[in-house]
Symmetry: C2
């Protein structure tokens, strides 16, 4: 096998025009389709995942293995093609390869039953063959867009001076809602250790106490924020919610930027720059994949992102938003009144109908928001925000954090939280407190929005949702 | 509070020379030290985490809050300093700020007991105040170097055409060694559901069967490799090992690149480029932090990386390495013979004494290596490699994967693995198999090597090791 070749090229490079026509190239990948012409040639489309399009190799019957191997190539076969890069005769790609050699590394056992045929498959079916679905046009494109978005997130935040902080996945604090958390243990369930009182003795467990999978790194990352000024988490997060909906995953990736010396307005500005930078990267770097999504999945996939970037987000106070909804003349399933949380139908009305572009709703009633959010001077609202986008509703949630220890303590007491358990978090307000703010968003939800996917299980490399399991 | 200011600057920007002397600037951060002069001035060193050095602000007694606040500033206080950026009078930094305003956002409660005093603390003590330790010189530097290395990993792999694949953290496959895995459950331990036979009924658990935290994403990422050609995992990984050593973490980040159409030589080349690219980024982008590590932690911190980059890695066959060790005249604690796995003492001898630079040992005995590694033609060895580095020993482990289904099946049977459980993995060899290879490394171990840290708990944002728990 020619593992290294001076003429080695990815399909992307070969199609890009960066290699001079007439050059000898070697590309390696998997067959998408094979078509034989009556003139004694085979046209073999080869994909290597580097870009949306495969490259066409034209294999003449004069090749030594033409009858024995090339004529048996089917979708999925592994090949190494060497030949001359030439301008393409037909429509489609600009270049093709006049093959002088086609090495077959592996055929497909029983091609009739190979799951990834060159036709459209149902999403349900593809979830059952998750190990093969990246070989489809759709999931190849999702994988590339996912990568581009993740890199754009890191690049954008680094350019603004942020540091990536890997907050703990395993936590021994269950205060944020143990009901939705996965418990972690190395105890032998068949023979659980017991205390004298007959309860499970977690002192014998791995960490010497109960342990869970984290639902958010925010509290932990605040400590780093109050030393490094700009930080973010970007990692897997877990929810043991038994809601088997297309909108929930048990395991998903979350991004939580946190900035010191920031109020809610600065937080909203940071979120706006963040989303625009990611979408711009997708449009700039994945035009081929986005064109596919626009053609096959969501006709407005590209224009939606372009419109998102084109204009400033609107800002509306929650109290004003409630008035707008009340006076909208719309019939909503969930009634609107000051004090209620906004539902997706309300959010989408505001973004799509009222404003016609993304909108940040700010200053929500304190009673419906988390304990760490900063109480406003009106004492009825907290400095919380949601970014609402056309076509989806809430896409980012954030807040200024309560940096005043006495206010925080009052709010924690009201929420029934134990001050001692949060001693370290309270320390951050005792030792050089500063105003700070942050936001969070689920990555797969954003990816669904960009690619036009309707089921979040298709936005994660291996589908997993409440009630499912890996293959 | 002046959240946004046209003159806003990070300490890094202010010290870099990029801002014209005489400009008005505002910097925001935390006091490191305060010194009062007899001339009626205070010198306040302010750090914001953006770079190693704090900036000195000179606050005159004429400021309105000089007596009431500035003279009470202690280490850790939050401040917003506005003033004129001027060339520094004293030695140390090139610039300082002649303050025209010092806003205090938060003093330090009871400064005498504030844990982060401007002096050297023991590492043990700092692990107990993990939420405050990023405020020290050492952990600020570790945090920045960590970020730089992580970004360098993503950037380098992206530049080579790799895609980041987020393989599952939760796995229902325990075949890789359940003894070392954390079990995950939402069952009520006080009232476990039972089967008729009296066993725990995992069909009632969240995923309908037993679930664990992953110990590696390699098998899952291979499926993506055989569609996208070049992929990598980079995420948290878990080991429930009860070894309370400075070398093990229960939760750590691992990187696993995987390349299609590659043999072991290509794998070693990929690993060499990878390590060199990361170390080069650290030297280029974190000179200030690395100078600190060289001064305070490991005198050869910088030269070690420079030497690492300067020359090609050596390559040695395992069989030759055994002969070299046998003939070395060294007394080793663990005896050397063909068939044994190399111990750290052997690895370090090879890298430090025999070669004097990093060395890749290749083709290990098949009996001591994992089932997925490719059997060599001699049928005694597999295409496995370890990269050994001076000062640490093994830093990367990798292999060419067995791409031949019949060989894989034989090896799995030998290892006592159930072929049906691995049906999806075997599919990858049935459907267009291609030679492929990959490697893996623990990120925190690499970070320890770069920063000269001796305890791996100091390389992760929140220390956690076997037997410990978060605060």
């Amino acid at each position: 096998m020619a593992v290294v070749s001076p003429t080695l090229s990815s399909v992307k490079q070969a199609l890009s025009g960066a290699i001079e026509a007439g050059s000898t190239v070697t590309v390696r990948g998997w067959v998408r389709t094979r078509r034989d012409s009556k003139a004694g040639l085979s046209f073999v489309n080869v994909s290597d995942g580097s870009c949306f399009d495969p490259i066409q190799a034209v294999a003449p019957a004069t090749l030594a293995n033409y009858e024995s191997e090339i004529r048996h190539l089917t979708a999925g076969a592994g090949v190494i093609v060497t030949g001359t890069l030439v301008p393409s005769q037909g429509k489609g790609q600009a270049f093709e390869i006049q093959a002088t050699g086609v090495e077959v590394t592996g055929l497909v056992d029983d091609p009739e039953t190979y799951p990834i045929q060159p036709k459209q498959h149902s999403m349900e079916f593809l979830r059952e063959v998750a190990h093969l679905r990246p070989r489809t046009n759709l999931f190849g494109a999702v994988t590339r867009v996912r990568h581009t978005m993740m890199m754009a997130i890191h690049r954008h935040l680094t350019s603004e001076g942020f540091f990536w902080i890997n907050t703990p996945i395993i936590t021994t604090s269950d205060a944020e809602g143990a009901g939705d958390m996965f418990r972690l243990s190395t105890l032998d369930l068949a023979n659980l250790p017991r205390t004298d009182g007959g309860k499970v003795d977690f002192r014998k467990d791995f960490f010497g106490r109960e342990a869970f999978l984290t639902v958010s790194g925010q509290l932990n990352v605040e400590a780093y924020c109050l030393a490094m000024s700009k930080v973010y988490t970007f990692g897997p997060t877990f929810r043991a919610e038994n809601s088997n909906t297309p909108r929930h995953l048990a395991e998903f990736w979350m991004i939580e930027p946190e900035i010191a010396f920031a109020d809610l307005a600065a937080d909203a500005d940071c979120a706006e720059r963040f989303l625009k930078a990611i979408f711009k990267a997708v449009l700039d770097e994945r035009a081929d994949d986005m064109a596919f999504f626009a053609e096959r999945v969501a006709p407005d996939a590209v224009t939606r992102l372009e419109n998102f970037i084109a204009r400033p987000f609107e800002r509306i106070d929650y109290t004003d938003a409630i008035e707008i909804l009340k006076n909208s003349g719309q019939k909503f399933e969930y009634p609107v009144a000051w004090g209620v949380d906004l539902q997706t139908e309300h959010e989408r009305y505001l973004a799509e109908k009222h404003v016609g572009r993304p909108v940040v709703v700010m200053n929500y009633p304190e009673a419906i928001k988390a304990f760490y959010m900063r109480l406003n001077d009106d004492e009825r609202t907290v400095a919380a925000m949601d970014v609402l986008a056309p076509g989806i509703g809430e896409i980012i949630g954030g807040s200024q954090r309560e940096e005043r220890l006495d206010y925080l303590d009052r709010r924690m007491t009201k929420f029934g939280l134990d001050l001692d358990t949060y001693g370290w978090y309270r320390d951050l307000r005792r030792y050089g407190t500063v105003p700070h703010a942050g936001f969070g968003l689920g990555f797969e939800r954003l990816l669904c929005y960009v690619c036009g996917l309707s089921n979040i299980r298709d936005a994660i490399p291996y589908p997993r949702a409440a009630g499912s399991a890996d293959f």
